[in-house]
Assembly symmetry: C2
Homo-oligomer: 249 residues x 2
DNA sequence: GAAGAGCGTACCGCTGAGTGGAACGCCGAC
DNA sequence: GTCGGCGTTCCACTCAGCGGTACGCTCTTC
């Protein structure tokens, strides 16, 4: 996958060396992470700066605004985001809790949008970020409606235990998935992060089987009762679904 | 700027060949836009697919989710977005009109966020998209607080007339800018798009001079009175400013 | 204040990754 | 049946890319 001996491979190795949490990385750190020769990293990084994918600061390199712009041209995620926004807003306004929009990418969830207010629960999710499928409400919903093969692939793969509540028993998980298909929502109760609860509903194509995305509401243990938002989340998701169906696709 | 004879240059020429409105582009179209040899485009595009920056569909290529993810790792825009979100939400809830967050990039505005409901005014702005500075409220605010040299550079440059209301007289524009500095807000009245009004306020660093970004509220002629949202926008912007100051940077 | 460790930068001759012209097969249009 | 446009494949040439080496700088460390 990661070709070490093409320019593009090197360039992407450098860009991908930036983790979700990193802002600036010095040259030496890039060398360490990519383990490419120093000279090479220096040159390629220079080229990337030239092309506005990296910025060079006093303390190192950082991913540039040019990359941000480019990323938001990605057609599918962008149109999804734009069409979904009004529904996400409604949902936020009704619940005043953190609202997520996510899609499946490989065996993980990628968040397309995350909106919340000042008192939002401190979740590890970030827009553009990834999370495992088995321990998030959005992930479960997406998995529940994914193909059979896809489902077993995830269930038989290693299921990371994120918290004491993470469900890592394939059998139990599978039962949760089929219940999610029945009821139209999935829950997460402190399975990815202690203190967090979550409800999610699928955004389906008109055929009623293919999932496009999922919407969720997240809140902290204590004041937050996920069950009470079940209908709101489901309503938002189905409404978005029919909007997507109407507008081209 | 665009090196035709390095792999990276070619790769970026291909990626940037996708305009804000394009979703899928066939190979032939990419060849036309980049005017690179057909064989080359084919190969490089293939490599880009391999690296998850492009997707290959039946009808051509399209920017992939991998690019979306990568773009949202860009540190400055992302942290700005995350910290701003609660304030943008507040503002939306108060006004129920389209809310923008934008920064200056070269001589244009780049929108970091755009949120709105179902009845939002149909604006040409898009998240990650660009607009000229002289005919948008956010642009004016950003320009008003930019360096003197930057300001004159834009004012003396060609000022595109987008609508009959677009202000293209440098003198008048300059007066609007200094008024924006005084009052802390700038207006746009159908200067970029017929039927749209807008108020914007600057997000300043604690020194009170350097602009980081700007926040705006947009609505349609008729029901929307921008003046009545002036204080709300200003409040959101200054609140975000102090939050940015508090949290690292 | 000398020695050393770690960093960013600059140089430069070798070589294979990248190049792109040419040719092919496949539609759909006329 | 013919033609124009498209996507794909092939292949011999060559220059873009390579990366080991060396330099100068700024901090620590003793």
């Amino acid at each position: 996958m990661e070709d070490r001996n093409t320019v593009l491979g090197k360039a992407l190795a450098i860009l991908r060396a930036f983790g979700p949490a990193d802002s600036v990385l010095p040259l030496a750190e890039l060398v360490r992470r990519t383990d490419l020769p120093k000279g090479t990293v220096h040159r390629v990084a220079g080229d990337l700066v030239h092309h506005r994918l990296l910025d060079k600061t006093a303390h190192g390199y950082q991913l540039s605004g040019g990359l941000f712009e480019l990323g938001l041209r990605a057609a599918t995620e962008r149109t999804l985001l734009e069409l979904a926004m009004p529904f996400l807003q409604d949902l936020y306004e009704r619940t005043h809790e953190t609202v997520h929009l996510g899609v499946r990418e490989g065996h993980e969830v990628v968040y397309i949008a995350k909106i919340g207010g000042h008192r939002q629960a401190k979740a590890p999710s970030r827009t553009g970020g990834r999370m495992p499928m088995h321990c998030t409400a959005i992930g479960k919903v997406l998995l529940a409606h994914a193909g059979e093969d896809e489902q077993t692939a995830v269930l038989t793969g290693p299921l990371e235990r994120r918290t004491p509540h993470t469900v890592i028993a394939p059998g139990l998980l599978r039962r949760q998935l089929s219940k999610a298909v029945e009821t139209g929502v999935a829950y997460e109760r402190e399975e990815s992060t202690p203190g967090l609860l979550c409800v999610a509903a699928p955004v389906l194509k008109p055929d009623g089987h293919t999932v496009v995305a999922a919407i969720s509401v997240t809140g902290p243990v204590g004041r937050f009762r996920p069950e009470s938002h079940e209908t709101a989340v489901r309503a938002a998701a189905t409404a978005l679904g029919s909007t997507l169906a109407r507008r081209g696709r």
